[in-house]
């Protein structure tokens, strides 16, 4: 991504953003509400055209550089008559724009994903029978069935209950071996233990290669941000600016 800008009307949301995602990355995207985190994801997904600049995908990956996406909230109608298998299979849209028939291979793959997501035996269940944590794993399954090289997660903490949280991040760690992950969250306390690096978005984007944020780096945002460090005793300090 090179010197990218985006705006809604005259309102500039992202300005001169330079950013690189490599294989195996696990990046936490943080920043204040309205800072442009979701806009960043939408640009990567191609839902918003940048005003200037461009997104460059590694040509070696073209064809297989599909992007998996777990939306902020479930936009699907949970009372709709689809089974868990159906929903996960719908993730194949990442590869095929118009789906006609499902091959045996696709079905086998869906069965594998159901197993991997810890949903065995629920393939035929309808969504209204599932708990919040199970639902999220169904939608995560939908995001990864197309073998994306990059997985985008928008506030995954929003619709998971805390009992599934650890489980969920364990799953992400495993997935990270196969794909780069870009996770948007305003709850950095929660993600700090999992991500390898941070991208801070507040109109501008600053990238921090380590999972530690220094005082000076925080000053760049001009907004209150939680400061997290890894020490012998993990601690969190709230820093106030101006």
């Amino acid at each position: 991504m090179e010197s990218l800008s985006a705006s809604y009307g005259t309102n500039i949301v992202l300005e001169d953003v330079n950013f690189r995602v490599s294989e195996g990355d696990f990046i936490g995207v943080i920043g204040p509400n309205g800072g442009g985190k979701t806009t960043l994801l939408k640009i990567i997904l191609g839902l918003i055209k940048p005003v200037s600049g461009e997104i460059i995908f590694n040509p070696d990956l073209s064809g297989s550089c599909a992007i998996g996406y777990l939306p902020q909230i479930s936009t699907g109608d949970l009372s709709y008559p689809v089974s868990v298998t159906d929903v996960i299979l719908s993730g194949m849209m990442i590869r095929k724009r118009i789906i006609t028939r499902m091959s045996k291979e696709d079905r086998k793959k869906a069965a594998g994903i159901i197993e991997e997501m810890g949903l065995s035996g629920m393939g035929r269940s309808s969504l209204s029978e599932l708990s919040g944590g199970q639902l999220q794993r169904v939608f995560l399954g939908r995001a990864i069935i197309g073998d994306p090289k990059l997985l985008l997660l928008d506030e995954p903490g929003n619709f998971v209950d805390s009992t599934f949280e650890n489980d969920f991040y364990e799953k992400l760690k495993e997935l990270n071996k196969r794909m780069a992950i870009l996770m948007v969250s305003h709850d950095i306390g929660m993600i700090s233990a999992h991500v390898r690096s941070y991208a801070c978005v507040n109109r501008k984007l600053n990238y921090h290669p380590s999972s530690e944020i220094s005082n000076e780096q925080l000053l760049a945002y001009g907004c209150p941000i939680q400061l997290i460090t890894h020490g012998t005793v993990p601690h969190t300090v709230l820093k106030q600016h101006n």
Partner: protein
Amino acid sequence: MEGSIFQYDFIVKGLLGAVFASITAGIIGTYIVTRKMVFLSGGITHASFGGIGIGYYAGINPVAGAAVFGILSALGIEYLSIHHRIREDSAIGIMWAFGMAVGIIFIYLTPGYSPNLMSYLFGSILTVTTADIVALGIMSLILCIYFGAFYRTILYTSFDESFARTYSAYVDIFKYITTSLVALTIVLNIRMAGVILVLSLLTIPPNIAMLFTRRYSNIIFFSVLSGFTGTAAGYFISYFAGIPVGATIIFTLVIIWILVKVIIVTVKYFK
């Protein structure tokens, strides 16, 4: 002899009409009920009455007029709501009344007596022509091919439109095509059940099916089956009892819904 030929013709027409009406209404009914667009379909139905009125006035086939009106109003509503120009339910409410108003004005302006007006409002066997049956038959074929070929795309885009939109540029095209098919199906079935009752012909069968199955393809199958039972029974009962066909069909369908519900509750109680 003449009586038996008439009887034969009547039975064939009734059965074929019931088959095609239940196939079209079963497939499209499942689509609109699961997508929660029953109100939109009501709007299309009543808007198409404007086309019937203009058809009468201009001396062209009222069904053709209704088809044009139905499709245009359906696409108009979808377009306005996709581009957030107006609240969808308001758009539907306006189209609904506007179509009826246009229809009534033009029927009033048409010189002479309009004997078929009631048949368009409530449906009638006597006005169902061979051409109507053929049109319904062609529509059944189109729907079977379309839903057969694009079953999964239709299922996924209607389950989670915004997710599908993230990956496929074809979501809107599919929506427009399917909505046009909804409008055409409604218009063709107006001949069977009439403007006022046709919506129930589409919405009751899927609701009977959803009492006992949650699979989309099963819902379509049982909608067609229950739709056929209700339509055929309604058609013949209405003939022998001398009551309007549309009303008889809807009445029969609701009775089936109640029966199935009672059976399910009883079975559950004794399990």
